[in-house]
């Protein structure tokens, strides 16, 4: 088995590293790049804990061969904010709605919800439930998570609406 050099855009920056063909993306992210926000949970594609965005779409890094992201764009939870001061509206909404308890599923939920709001900026509750059905949470009972996604969506809609105050802040 020969190692391969892959190059991909990770959270906005190109990285280049050598991986084995049988290495999974989640292991490369966590163990080689030390991005431990991506959680290893079920390992068989049932829980969504290892969700990352690949070219903007949610995928499971526990089922993705690292060689497969060569040349592509990967976003992990670390790519959304550099610290508490620049959290995304979705991250703030999760905090404000108490949508985080143990926090293990949170990175996967946030990334899935982020992709959802880009596809469908104003989803109904049913649509939110459909899109996140691949993300499991054992603490919250989901209600607060759904509320957080709705809150982030409605705040984004408000800030986009052309108005004397909000208009300038959008973009």
């Amino acid at each position: 088995m020969e190692p391969r050099v892959i190059r991909f855009r990770l959270n906005g920056e190109w990285v280049r590293l050598s991986v084995m063909p049988n290495e999974l993306l989640i292991n490369v992210l966590r163990e080689k790049l030390h991005l431990t926000g991506t959680k290893y949970w079920c390992g068989i594609g049932e829980c969504g804990g290892c969700t990352v965005l690949l070219d903007g779409e949610p995928v499971l890094s526990c089922l993705t061969l690292a060689v497969d992201v060569d040349g592509r764009k990967v976003t992990t939870i670390e790519g959304l904010a550099t610290g508490e001061d620049d959290l995304t509206p979705l991250q703030r909404a999760f905090i404000e709605e108490g949508a985080i308890q143990c926090g293990f599923c949170t990175p996967g939920f946030i990334l899935t919800a982020q992709a959802l709001l880009r596809e469908n900026p104003n989803p109904t509750e049913e649509e939110i439930r459909e899109y996140v059905r691949g993300n499991l949470c054992r603490c919250t009972g989901y209600v607060s998570i759904i509320r957080a996604v709705k809150r982030a969506a409605s705040e984004a809609v408000k800030s986009r609406r052309p108005g004397p105050a909000a208009g300038a802040a959008s973009g």
């Binding site: 391969r4 292991n27 068989i44 969700t51 690949l54 949610p58 089922l63 497969d68 459909e130 996140v132």
Partner: protein
Amino acid sequence: MLPEFEYHRPASLEEAVRLLSELGPDAKVIAGGTDLVVKMRAGLVSPRHVVDLSRLTEIRFIRDEGDRLKIGAGTTLWEIENSREVARGVPVLREAVEEMASWHVKTTATIGGNLCNASPAADAAPPLMVHDATLVVVGPEGRREVPIGEFFTGPGQTVLGVGEILAEVVVPKMRRGQGAAFEKLTVREGALSIASAAALVEISGGRFVDARVALGAVAPTPIRALKVERALKGRPATREILRSASREAKADIKPITDVRGSREYREEMSVVLVRRALERAVERAGGAWA
């Protein structure tokens, strides 16, 4: 950690066929990887070579060709779920795909992978079976067409030989007067089928001029329910006839007991799923009950 393997990424379907022919039976095709990686991790398969088809754009398409739809085997389930052509021409396939897995899985999982993995519970199969789809296979000897009813030979087994690749699914579109529906029983949305059923009917003059029924997860392969179909064809489209024909499903299937359900449960539920699928198919055909 996965078992060790050599990784190949051919640049064309032709190259992939050549490569698979050379590598022989120790090679496995990977597309989305949502089945293969899970199986490799569980130690169920450990191929010496993995041939990645996920970047072959030549097998990733949905083409409307008048009375039929051509779907490239490398098309993702998410692309199928969001395709207007599929929604219009083969709505029962969209219905089944909607209920499969999760968004994260569907962005990478492909229709070809779902069929070639040949799970008895492959949800894409029953809708394609009631549509009498044809599978286009390319291989070292060229190209051949396989009716979907002849594709599966057992759990995880298909007619594909060494070097052969499923390239395309050709699906005759729904016609006026036809209606189709898919029913699935599962512990929660997106989970594997305990049992599933697809039905397609055509009603004219108050009679079933055509009736096709297929089931999943209740036999070694997805199957057509021929006894149910025979009990409907040519008969008046009444609820009574539909109900009694649905009971024939028990004679069409060979379910096993596993972690998802018992043989007896699957037998009883097959009848219910077939009836529900047929009833909704009749309603969608716009056919008034006779």
